[in-house]
Amino acid sequence: MKFERYGVGLVKGLLVTFKHLFRHPITTQYPEQRLVPSRRTRGNELVWNNVKCVVCTTCAKTCPQGAINMETEVDPANPGKRIITRFEVDTGYCISCGLCVESCLYNALHMGYAYERAQYRRQDLIQSNDGLLASETRKASAFMHTDMEKDFPEQTLLIDRNKKKAVIKPSGDANIEPAAAPPPESTPAAPAS
């Protein structure tokens, strides 16, 4: 290197790293401190509402991965309607793109708000029927439903961190603390082959 700047560039670089010694690190200690995700987080699960669902299978058709499949049968009470016997989502295939939620006309499908849904066994990835319903630990995210956005906490932004040292919510309320694992659904159906 021709020191055409006589090493000044090197010294300026050293000053920058030295200045960083006196700045706050931006690390978040994950399990203890959690960042609040966006109100529209597309978590890695689906939240289904079996009352509103009219079994029109639009979501199954729009899913680019074919992760949703349903089984229906004729409703013995009134022959015109069909009732759903099995609404199954393979979260192993689901890429949480949200196209199904966008295509559902009856607001029966939401993306999940939690992002900690890893499983140890592949069969557990397949959730069906009441395993999909909204519950205390399985909150629905406000993705594609702007009316639901107001009852979600504000997202923690890194841009506010430097200015007013935004308080990072201690663990728990920011995200749904999975209570004791919900009892495995008691459907008699054998787990999907």
Partner: protein, 368 residues
Amino acid sequence: MSLNTEQFILNIGPSHPSTHGVFRMKATMDGEVIVELEPVFGYLHRGIEKLAEQRTYTGIIPLTDRLDYLSAMSNNLAHCIAVEKLAGIQVPERAEYLRVILAELQRIASHLIAAGALLNDCGAFMTPILYMLREREKILDLFEMVSGQRLTYSYIRPGGLAQDVPAEFLPALQKVVTDLPHFFDEYDQLLKENEILLARSKGVGILTREMAINTSASGPVLRASGIKWDIRKADPYSIYDRFQFEVPTGKAGDCYDRYWVRMLEMRQSLRIVEQAIQQMPAAGDIQTKVPALIRPPVGEIYSRTEVPKGELGFYIVSDNSIAPYRYHIRGPSLLNLTALRDMIVGWKIADAILIFGSIDICMGEVDR
């Protein structure tokens, strides 16, 4: 007495710390100097062009996120512009402005990774790339607020956006836009006149003007060789003709110029975002009425947009069905690699890694 030395073949292999993904360079080495080099790729080939032929035009959007996974928003925009040209869909004003803002933010985020990774290949122990990732985090926060995801947004739809931006998006965007220039100055102070970086990258891996044009390079690689060709200026798509910005070009076409062109482009993108914030209408619908299954008329279209890596072109042949008949993706990273061999032969292995890093490719786009 001539020392009999032997050349040996070194696989700078698919899993190597600085090949930006699964990319392999079969280098024939004479000691440290590279005598012959053959790039080998295809390790990340998922057959996106074949998959796209069985999906609806909206179903292809999640596929385009995974093309150049560092600039998913720009890929979404490129795909949607192609479909809008093909099917003749109009996009409302407010959606156009928001799209430009998101695309330019994505360009800054992608260039941040490119410059940081270049320094990492050059041996600066993680410091520059960690500063860069911290700044990129601020942009990813905005994308997460808008679309719900941090990397694969699938947020832009043919005809506008999936849903409107939340209320607190604009104040947060304003903060990011005022904060970034301080970072750019600090980063220049760290690296602009750093003698070691100058020694390592000035005059290294030169891509001449003719070679750049002949090997259809595009984006910062082409501009660093001194050719003022930016599709946002030459063939303005969407509403890019309403903004004032320069197209920075380099002189020698060496690694330093490619790095420096990207740093200047980030400042220009910031200028565009600022102008777009002022000119944006406060309210307005976000997506035109578009049928759920878009059926473009029979015909074909080649539409190209300026993504951070270069010119991303989609050649779509439609036969009036809900899925394209043929969906070809012109990936800028693949074509920027054509000149890799001529740029690297003659240099040492340390330079080869640096030259490869300065081209800034993304394997998702090379292998498709």
